[in-house]
């Protein structure tokens, strides 16, 4: 009586805990994210490298490029204007670039003029370095008289034309021109205009995606305007749509399959209702806890969580099957050790994912572990009370199924089975020896092909060339970084001549180091000393004018472009990404390549960075691939460790029967690897992660069977939970999200094989009813 009361109390406490969890989570205002970057490994790189790669990827992640085209120029222009105005009004959008405003264009063009004696472009500098002063002067004259020269009003302030009209010297040339203030794409058949927008925040918020894409669709809806787009937002939105469809289809699919199976076996609708309780409590608690821990829940986690249904149902099935042959007071003492060991091994197996350096997997681990614990608590605390009135009534189907399975030929230990086992082992060893690892970053690619094609078309049309490869030039001050950059640039120019690297952007081209500015001024002074008189004489101008020119030089020659001043200029916006702000006493600049020769180019840059500790060649694609490969190898060690730990824990309880529990998942895992090598062209990290799940679920089966010495109802329970897991995970095989697909197919093969092994090992001598 007292025991019953305390049980009831615990059940009520658990109910309240769930309610409190839900209230807390609801208050958190959770976000659902779809960023593939969230699934990427956290890098073990320095803060400087992480910050720099974030700056480089922000270029792409927050920017959305839209090209609108149509047969009628006016219609397209009107649409551009309408679209830009609507986008500008949105709070999600930080900036919309769609036209060139006169004042802004003029201001930008003249911003660097005050620094003309200290900031020289590379051509002017080369001439002065060779002291070709006469030639510079001749060119100045040619320019002054030239048909094409316009804007010679600076003839007194800059008689040698040191300040080139183009201003920012190496801004990327894209295929568009300013046509009546708007940005018109060149080299296309139909009139095409451009809008570029910058988001306030990362593009992974589903609500932001809906709002921004909705606005764009509204403007072009019903017209004959074609729109082509490029930007992370699109990929994020596509990924989100895919994941949410998969959650509903895969989740619903497995739920329907499982419900049908249960109705068939138990033939009671109340049992189905009972089974749904721990499953839903598990799922809801898992969502709530993930929200509390991470604030932002990834959609892949939710999709993976849909598969968790199949695992959390294990405990309930085991309880309900045994409850058919055990009384209410008998059941818990009888099955609790098995349930607890099952939970323990699953938590270990799932929890292992938390050790992986992938934030996405870590979230899945927290999700799974909390979901399983919640489902387990629900079964243990609520089920005795919920099923208190149930009478003992053996499942007729359990007996039939049991009898059927036990009629199959069993594995006997004899010479034949030994030879067959050895033969099998050899074949497996040969097949596994040829395993190739796949660590391609494309494993994480979830975007549909059409979207990738659209992206590439926009980039090709506009001539956008960029890569994720860059050289980080670090130092203790920005000045030193700039100086170092200036020393390296000639080396890079040489590599460019050899065709090993494509063009590159360098901040020091537009913001030279102060020491270089000093050097430039010295050369310009020499130019004035040797040529000014001569130039004014040739122009037939008075000495007074020449003196004005000298005064202007003296007045402005000491002006330096400091980084602080530079950052206040309008033109710094397009360069500021190339400066990594100070962190722990280090700053860096970025030399960004628009592409490079993968083999020799990368090798040349790597050897350059090896020769100098302050130069770091960063290639994020390569880094992720390397990291995936590294963890693929590490995870194998981890799985071996997991088996060892489980073996040691279980050996205390099961003594020499322990192999009977551990062998099926182990053998199934190895055979699964063989199958994966054949069907998936190689093994990747995610296949191996899924093998941990095979271990967890496989152990559940072995433990439950061992606890009841393989009773017919336990066999029924574990077989059903195996089928439900196959339904839940097997459907993930159909997922278009690569990670989920890899998980799904591995668990499908693995669990199928575990069940077959359990069947082979099933004790054929036992055929009686009950335990």
């Amino acid at each position: 009586m007292i025991k019953q009361k305390s049980q009831l109390l615990l059940a009520v406490v658990w109910l309240f805990t769930i309610v409190i969890l839900l209230i807390l989570a609801a208050e958190k205002n959770a976000k659902f994210s779809s960023s593939i970057f969230a699934l990427l490994p956290e890098s073990d790189q320095s803060a400087l490298i992480r910050q720099s790669s974030k700056q480089i990827s922000n270029d792409f992640s927050r920017r959305l490029i839209l090209m609108l085209s149509g047969p009628d120029e006016t219609v397209v222009r009107d649409a551009i204007e309408k679209l830009a105005r609507e986008l500008s009004a949105m709070t999600d959008v930080a900036e919309v670039f769609w036209r060139v405003e006169k004042e802004k264009a003029i201001r930008a063009r003249n911003e660097l003029f005050p620094y003309r004696f200290a900031v020289l472009d590379s051509k002017a500098r080369q001439k002065l370095q060779k002291a070709e002063y006469g030639e510079v002067s001749e060119q100045a004259l040619g320019r002054i008289y030239s048909l094409l020269s316009i804007g010679q009003s600076a003839i007194l302030d800059d008689p040698f034309g040191l300040y080139s009209l183009s201003g920012s010297t190496s801004a990327p040339n894209l295929n568009f021109e300013v046509s009546k203030s708007l940005l018109k794409v060149t080299g296309v058949d139909q009139p095409t205009y451009l809008v570029v927008l910058e988001l306030v925040d990362e593009p992974y918020d589903l609500a932001v995606q809906d709002r921004v894409l909705g606005t764009i669709e509204d403007v072009t809806a019903g017209s004959d305007i074609t729109i082509e787009r490029s930007g992370m937002l699109l990929h994020a939105a596509a990924g989100a749509r895919q994941a949410s469809t998969e959650i509903s289809t895969i989740g619903l699919g497995s739920l329907i399959g499982i419900a049908m199976l249960i109705l068939f076996v138990f033939r009671r609708i109340t049992t189905l209702g009972l089974l749904l309780i721990p499953v839903s409590v598990g799922y809801i608690s898992a969502v709530a806890i993930s929200i509390l821990v991470f604030r932002e829940v990834h959609l892949v986690t939710l999709a993976f969580g849909a598969g968790l249904i199949g695992v959390s149902i294990d405990y309930a099935l085991h309880f309900l099957c045994e409850r058919r042959v055990l009384t209410n007071s008998q059941i818990l003492p009888r099955i609790l050790p098995g349930l607890t060991l099952g939970l323990f091994s699953s938590v270990m197996a799932y929890g292992a994912q938390a050790l992986a350096p992938f934030p996405g997997l870590r979230q899945m681990a927290v999700f799974s572990v909390s979901g399983l614990i919640a489902a387990w608590l629900t079964v243990v605390l609520w089920f005795p009370w919920l099923t208190r009135k149930q009478t003992i009534q053996a499942l007729p189907l359990a007996e039939k199924f049991n009898a059927l399975c036990r009629r199959l030929p069993a594995l006997r230990f004899n010479r034949f089975s030994l030879v067959m086992s050895i033969l099998l082992l050899v074949i497996v060893a040969i097949l596994l020896a040829s395993v190739t690892g796949i660590d391609d970053v494309r494993l994480l690619q979830t975007s549909p092909k059409s979207l990738v094609a659209e992206e590439q078309k926009v980039r090709a049309t506009l001539g956008i060339k960029s890569s994720s490869q860059y050289l980080l030039v670090k130092s203790n001050t920005l000045e030193n970084s700039l100086q170092k950059e200036e020393r390296i640039i000639p080396l890079l120019e040489a590599l460019k001549q050899e065709g090993l690297v494509a063009d590159f952007q360098a901040i020091s081209n537009v913001l030279p180091s102060l020491s270089r500015q000093e050097e430039n001024l010295k050369m310009v002074s020499a130019l004035y000393d040797s040529q000014l008189i001569n130039l004014y004489a040739k122009l037939n101008l008075t000495d007074a004018k020449r003196d004005e020119s000298l005064t202007s030089f003296d007045r402005e020659k000491n002006r330096r472009l400091t980084p602080e001043r530079f950052q206040q200029l309008e033109i710094s916006n397009q360069w500021v990404n190339l400066i990594v702000p100070p962190e722990q006493g280090e700053v860096a600049t970025i030399l960004r390549f628009s592409g490079l020769n993968e083999g020799e180019g990368s090798a040349a840059l790597l050897s350059l960075s090896d020769s100098d500790p302050d130069l770091i060649f960063v290639d994020q694609t390569r880094n992720i691939t390397a990291l995936l490969g590294k963890y693929r190898l590490e995870i194998i060690n981890w799985i071996a460790m997991a088996y060892l730990v489980v073996f040691v824990v279980l050996v205390f309880r099961y003594r020499n029967r322990v192999w009977r529990i551990v062998l099926p998942p182990a053998a199934a895992s190895i055979l699964t690897l063989v199958l994966l090598v054949q069907f998936e062209q190689g093994i990747n990290l995610f296949h191996l992660m899924a093998l941990i799940l095979v271990l967890g679920i496989g152990l559940d089966m072995g433990i439950f069977l061992a606890e009841t010495d393989g009773s017919s109802h336990t066999w029924m329970a574990v077989s059903m939970s195996c089928v439900t897991s196959l339904l839940a995970f097997g459907l993930l095989t159909l997922s278009k999200t690569p990670i989920l697909h890899h998980f799904g197919i591995t668990v499908l093969c693995g669990l199928g094989l575990v069940w077959i092994f359990e069947l082979i090992l099933l004790d054929r001598g036992r055929n009686e009813v009950g335990i």
Partner: protein
């Protein structure tokens, strides 16, 4: 009475007709021979110098192929414009400028209509037009282009934003 009416009618209708200028009408009036050659006098008036910088030279033109512009005095300088090097021009400003000059000198009114609005008058066979840039980027450099001519272009005045202007007078030698 009826005579006065007729004169008034003519006065009002004719100027109205003659000021109704269009790129199409200019195309009809002007000629673009296959070859052209001549001398030019260029005066660049720079407000800040309070004086003009004068230069002289020769030019030659072959339809659809090139325009050579040779300054002979006070310094020697040769500029060759071809449709290809115009489009290859890296600097956006000089690219647009060369396209405008190439079009003006060779009377390719179609490509000018891309950048300018047209006003002015045509009387008999002579015309004087004013081109105003429609594009702000161009308007930031060139505020106005005045052109005077008959079957051929005779004079160009290019006004810049700071009050500077360049006058080019052309004298042809027929081949």
């Amino acid at each position: 009475m009826s005579r006065t009416f007729l004169i008034i009618a003519l006065l009002y209708s004719f100027p109205a007709y003659s000021s109704e200028i269009s790129f199409e009408r200019l195309v009809a009036i002007t000629e673009t021979p296959a070859h052209l050659k001549g001398n030019f006098t260029q005066e660049k008036y720079l407000k800040i110098l309070e004086t003009g910088l004068v230069s002289k030279g020769v030019f030659s033109y072959k339809k659809g192929e090139y325009l050579n512009w040779e300054t002979l005095d006070p310094i020697y300088n040769k500029l060759s414009l071809t449709p290809t090097n115009i489009s290859n021009e890296q600097d956006a400003v000089s690219s647009v400028l060369s396209e405008i000059l190439f079009s003006v000198l060779t009377a390719q009114w179609g490509s000018l209509s891309k950048y300018f609005d047209l006003s002015g008058r045509i009387e008999d066979q002579t015309w004087a037009v004013v081109l105003l840039p429609v594009d702000v980027a161009i308007a930031g450099i060139i505020t106005k282009v005045e052109l005077v001519g008959d079957v051929l272009l005779r004079k160009i005045v290019l006004h810049e934003k700071d009050g500077d202007y360049t006058t080019i007078e052309l004298a042809y030698q027929y081949q």
